[in-house]
């Protein structure tokens, strides 16, 4: 578990863990998959009652967190979700709330409904056949007499078929703006994913009318709000992958002791011991860089943009390699449907790609560093 400091946080963590173990186990994930269901909305409401959706929301808007560091608490939930690759819309709801609390005026009811778990929201930011480029939306919002008309297509919208409302990034006169749009005003088509339960959607806006009040934030603050949402999305991915790695490494370490070949446990072969040693090191590095990113985003420090890219690049580059090596160490059982490894591998592969691949984040790290370098050279 990531550093848990206060007794309140400890209690929150253990409550979350108990709830997940009972209500979102790996066998539950398999059941949902078999029933062709992403998640049960009554289950999500109970998760919200535990406070999962309130962590990023200030108390005067009906939220609150146990430790006073809501993002750290949320990352802890994400990490625990990783232990059983649990279902549910924690990511999309959290990312939308991260934006709404920056400019809550007029959106108090939506925030309240999201905190209570009655409403599910999702960030409509990706567009078909394009990498993530939140500040250059192709979807447009055109002024009308009473508000705006939205046209264009978003996709890879998480929980798009379950969401009641989308936070849509659209271009207004050359500037990115965000609108809260009820889902029933858009054409929603489900997109399958490699994950057992996570689903996405293509969301089409064809002359969708919204009024002025649908806007979130003004033009000047919108880029910063979007960046905040992007950062929250990335640290949640990293934290969840850390949880995944923790479980998978524990599972594989145990297997090394239990499985015998030629009369010896696998754990006694140096070639295999060294691979586990590397994985232990990479795992702690994943944990360290994720903690660094969480702290930077939580403190809104200047290097948060850099540190989320560093964390995503590192964690999402290492984790799939480690997962596949764990499959290899398990032998044939590791590639069977009945073994749980693929459940973790699926979620990891999904997150590797979404919100920027390691390759894309490496280039972002370069760009941020080169900018500093050029400033220093010209200074």
């Amino acid at each position: 578990m990531t550093d848990v400091s206060s007794p309140e946080q400890l209690l929150f963590a253990s409550t979350t863990q108990a709830f997940l173990e009972k209500e979102a186990s790996l066998s539950r994930v398999r059941e949902l998959h078999a029933a062709d269901t992403s998640f049960d909305s009554a289950w999500w409401q109970r998760a919200a009652e535990l406070g999962w959706a309130s962590l990023l929301v200030p108390e005067d808007l009906g939220g609150g967190s146990v430790s006073g560091d809501g993002l750290a608490d949320l990352a802890l939930v994400a990490e625990q979700i990783g232990h059983s690759v649990a279902p549910g819309p924690l990511h999309p709801v959290s990312v939308v709330l991260a934006g709404l609390v920056e400019a809550p005026d007029g959106h108090e009811d939506t925030i309240e409904a999201l905190v209570s778990g009655e409403l599910i929201a999702s960030w409509a930011v990706y567009e078909p056949r394009r990498p993530l480029s939140p500040l250059q939306p192709g979807v447009t919002a055109t002024r009308t007499a009473s508000g705006y008309r939205i046209d264009g297509v978003k996709d890879r919208v998480e929980a798009g078929t379950e969401a009641g409302v989308f936070l849509v990034v659209a271009d207004v006169d050359g500037n990115p703006r965000q609108f809260l749009v009820p889902a029933d005003r858009a054409g929603v088509t489900e997109q399958r994913s490699v994950d057992m339960v996570k689903r996405y959607a293509r969301v089409e806006f064809d002359g969708t009318e919204v009024d002025e009040a649908a806007l979130v934030g003004d033009a000047a603050q919108t880029p910063a709000i979007i960046e905040r949402q992007r950062q929250v999305a990335l640290v949640l991915q990293c934290a969840e992958i850390v949880g995944i790695l923790e479980t998978v490494l524990a599972m594989t370490t145990q297997w090394m002791f239990d499985r015998h070949s030629f009369g010896r446990p696998l754990a006694s072969y140096q070639a295999l011991k060294h691979r586990l040693a590397d994985m232990k090191m990479w795992f702690e590095a994943c944990r360290g860089t994720t903690a660094g990113a969480v702290a930077a985003v939580s403190a809104r420090s200047e290097d948060a943009t850099l540190l989320v890219s560093v964390a995503k690049a590192y964690v999402a580059e290492r984790a799939p390699v480690m997962l596949q090596d764990c499959v290899q160490l398990h032998g044939g059982i590791g590639v069977t449907w009945e073994h749980d490894l693929h459940l973790f591998l699926r979620r990891t592969a999904l997150y590797r790609a979404l919100y920027g691949s390691p390759e894309e984040h490496h280039r972002l790290v370069y760009a941020l560093s080169a900018k500093t370098f050029r400033q220093e050279v010209s200074a």
Binding site: K273, M281, E284, G288, H362, R363, F373
Partner: protein
Amino acid sequence: MTETAVPTATESVADFAARARAWLADNMPRVDPDNLPVALRAVQSSWDRAKELQKRLYEGGFAGLCFPREYGGQGLPLAYQKAFTAECRGYEMPLILNVPSLTICAATILDMGTESQKRERISAAIRGDEILCQLLSEPSGGSDLAGVITRADRVGDKWIINGAKTWSTSAFAADYGLMLARTDWTVPKHQGLTMFLVPLNSPGITMRRIKEVNGNEEFCEEFFDGLELGDDAVVGEVNNGWEVASRQLHHERRAVGGGSEFASGTDSDNAEEMPPDHVAYAELTGHGDDPAVQELVGRALARRIVKNQLIDHVGNAIGNGSLPPNAGTLIRLFHAETTELEVDTALAIAGTAGVVDEGEELSGLLDSIGVRYLSRQTGSLGGGSSEMARNVISERILGFPREFAADKGVPFNEVKRGRT
């Protein structure tokens, strides 16, 4: 020089820091903190300079802050050393005396030495009069430290030393060395060792510099031919040298991890350890706009940041008990892996300019990239190989079975050895 004020137990850390700030401004040479001069550890003049700076610190009452007063230190808690380290940024400091002299050797003598060893050697090191080094590794093997075959034989009331040591860090500049030798061959390997404190100017010692592939000549090898030592040279007890060596390794891990209270000043003292400036190389060679190069460089830059985050994380985790103390090995291995990536990345970006001197603004790259590449593995060998680190992680952190050791419980004179 300003008058030396004696710190008192009542002086607060803040008052101490203020006094240090004023003293430093009056007494120590200023340097640009963002562009520190790097002392070359292979050059004698660097050590002469370091001794001179250390003398100034000692005269000012700012040397050996955490060493006891009776051995030449100031007997202050760590908070004072931390405050001093913060204040001395921006001043030229004798950083090369930190490792191994003060943080490993003096620290071990403090733990295990006799009263006179502590009074004489520790205080001389703190005063800037003497430098201490370690004489541990041998030509017959590096990772198996307890398997040393340098012998110390009892003849009358003397010890007679014969054998050889190697990879002794900056031994050429040192005055005394902590040397591990075998004093009993009839017991298993850890039980027959004794640590000696050797005056390096004694007859019977021949020292030679080791020339590395990059031309660096900091490390030394020493040959002992009938070197005579008295009982006063024994550190700890006869045949209990492994305990002393273990203290050295303990202090070495702490020092290398930046966690020693006996280090004064931070910042890297070693040009070889400065990270390659990948962004500068990419821009300089005109590849700054190539997405493939950006990706390579971004990966190396990210890895360096992750390394520092891992250091913080492991430090916290050892502190709160969620990782065992030897989890420091994770940092050691990650450092090696990161160095390999950084050096490889620099070579990849530089292209031909890393291996041929193309002149003008590119002329530095042959040394900083190409020649450095040749000694890429030093980070994965020095202070214990990466393979040993993987054994430690898998066996002592993950709890996997220990490797079979053919010498376990066997009298050392019956243990098979390679041809030397």
